[in-house]
């Protein structure tokens, strides 16, 4: 299958889906509209809503807020995950002591923390960042922990025989190994940073994509909800493309990263 052909087929799926949606939302079938506009809106309305957001420029503020929250959540969560992951992996006793609590905290559905964060940190961006951090932290933490633990004994012995001190082992062996594990989960952790931000906004805020969707829903503006969803998907896809580019640069030494994708 050529690239162009594949792209054509992919586009066809979208066109057919939108056409069906538009058809069943506007044309009565056996005297009945199968997708009542009140519940399903229709593609034309949704599209015009998206266009309106962008033409008036109202959307940029919300996008910027969500992006900023996601970046902060990702950065803080990753930093914490790397530090704690390293610490636990190098100090088995600490890891053993904290193990049940880490499992407990990770098992908790993070959404229930949102009200607490709102209470503690207010309706501004920080309560959303905090929610994102709780999601990102654990992904990065588990990966870094694993990455440090899973350094092959042969590679470690080789490093020691080559005269590396404990500090040099850290820098030349454990650190790159941990980073590679962290980067392999980059898509997931970036995705969760966005989830944290949007869910946080949805549950209580004054700006952001989640807020936009929640507002539209509050006034039964279904077109607004769908429009918000589409902007959000496009936003996430754009971020994912950026992550893929970063990943390709950073993981050139990995067989699958260099050849695949």
């Amino acid at each position: 299958m050529s690239r162009l052909g594949l792209l054509a087929l992919q586009l066809l799926v979208a066109i057919v889906a939108i056409a069906l949606w538009q058809f069943f939302a506007t044309v009565p079938v056996f005297g009945r509209i199968l997708l009542p506009p009140f519940f399903f809106s229709n593609p034309v309305d949704v599209f015009s809503q998206v266009v309106k957001w962008f033409s008036t420029g109202a959307i940029w503020k919300h996008l910027a807020i969500t992006l900023w929250e996601s970046i902060l959540a990702f950065a803080i969560g990753s930093l914490g995950g790397v530090l704690v992951g390293f610490w636990f992996a190098r100090k088995p006793l600490v890891a053993a002591v904290f193990d049940p609590y880490v499992k407990m905290a990770n098992a908790l559905p993070r959404v229930v923390l949102a009200p607490i964060f709102t209470l503690w940190l207010g309706l501004g961006i920080w309560s959303k960042v905090a929610l994102g951090v709780t999601l990102v932290f654990f992904i990065v933490f588990f990966n870094v922990y694993q990455g440090v633990k899973e350094v092959s004994t042969v590679v470690r012995d080789n490093a020691r025989m080559l005269g590396m001190s404990e500090r040099q082992l850290m820098r030349h062996v454990y650190w790159p190994s941990a980073l590679s594990w962290m980067f392999s989960s980059l898509h997931t952790s970036v995705g969760f940073a966005v989830v944290g931000a949007v869910v946080g906004e949805y549950l209580g805020s004054a700006a952001g994509l989640g807020y936009l969707i929640q507002q539209a829903e509050g006034v039964f503006d279904v077109a607004g909800v769908f429009a918000g969803m589409f902007v959000l998907s496009a936003f996430v896809i754009l971020i994912d493309i950026c992550v893929t580019l970063v990943e390709r640069r950073l993981l050139v030494w990995r067989p699958d990263a260099a050849e695949g994708r």
């Binding site: 590679v155 012995d157 025989m161 080559l162 030349h172 790159p176």
Partner: protein
């Protein structure tokens, strides 16, 4: 320099035991007696699982013997053997470093400036025949090429003792011979003490000055020690044609065969 009279590696009554689950102990090697002179190439041959690699790890200081002593150039070994370079059987290159970085790292950690280390590493890559492959990552190299990088990585530090654990084991027959010749060339240019572990008797005779045979495990012992008097410099392809080679091979094989059979019997019994 320590006096040249002291052996590069000398194992005296070295016993290695591992603690198993359930409190039992497994004796891998029992009262091994072995010395490698400075500049001497010694090959250890034995059936699979006889503790050859264990003995090598003891000489490297990666494993502590349960009894007996390990002396390196006359000094009792405490901790890692700083005089030794170790070429592992498995891939031991750092996958996140290029070939050049992999070779240079041994100098860099010792404090050599990066630029100088890189220049030296390039020289070493050239002398193992990989001059143009410096910027490749290990996964982009073939098994044989990775072994060459590994060899350069060990030799660049100029260790006085080189330990090799079936380094060419995973390679195909032709590549093994080419690597053997490369090793002999490099060793001839600058003779270090080499302790080379292999299960391939032919390879051992072709390469070494002395061939040491270990008995089947557990509690394997050193049961034979032959001097190889084949003239140097040798070519691995040609040396195998010589009458002397065949004589020696037949003689050593008599001893080795019994041990290999023992190992197989044990395996079948289990």
């Amino acid at each position: 320099m320590t006096p040249s009279t002291a052996a590069a590696v000398s194992l005296d009554g070295t016993t290695v035991a591992f603690r198993l689950a359930g409190g039992r102990t497994y004796t891998a090697v029992e009262t091994a007696q072995l010395s490698v002179e400075d500049g001497e190439f010694v090959a250890i041959v034995g059936p699979t699982g006889c503790g050859k690699s264990t003995l090598l790890n003891v000489a490297a200081g990666l494993l502590k013997p349960a009894a007996g002593s390990v002396r390196i150039f006359g000094q009792p070994l405490a901790g890692l053997n700083r005089e030794a370079g170790y070429l592992f059987q498995a891939d031991a290159l750092f996958p996140w470093k290029t070939a050049l970085e992999n070779v240079a790292i041994g100098l860099e950690v010792a404090g050599t400036p990066a630029r100088e280390a890189a220049a030296k590493a390039q020289q070493w890559l050239t002398s193992v025949g990989l001059g143009a492959f410096g910027n490749r990552y290990p996964h982009m190299l073939s098994g044989g090429q990775r072994k060459r990088v590994g060899l350069a990585q060990v030799l660049i530090r100029n260790p006085r003792i080189i330990l090799m654990d079936e380094p060419f084991g995973p390679l195909d027959a032709q590549t093994r011979q080419i690597m053997g010749n490369l090793l002999l060339d490099l060793w001839n240019a600058d003779r270090k003490a080499v302790l080379f572990v292999t299960h391939d008797l032919e390879e051992a005779i072709a390469l070494a000055d002395r061939v040491v045979i270990m008995s089947a495990g557990p509690a394997s012992r050193i049961i034979g020690d032959w001097r190889v008097t084949l003239a140097r410099p040798r070519d691995i392809f040609e040396v195998r044609m010589k009458h002397e080679f065949h004589e020696l091979h037949r003689e050593i094989w008599q001893t080795l065969k019994a041990e290999v059979e023992k190992t197989y019997k044990q395996a079948e019994a289990v």
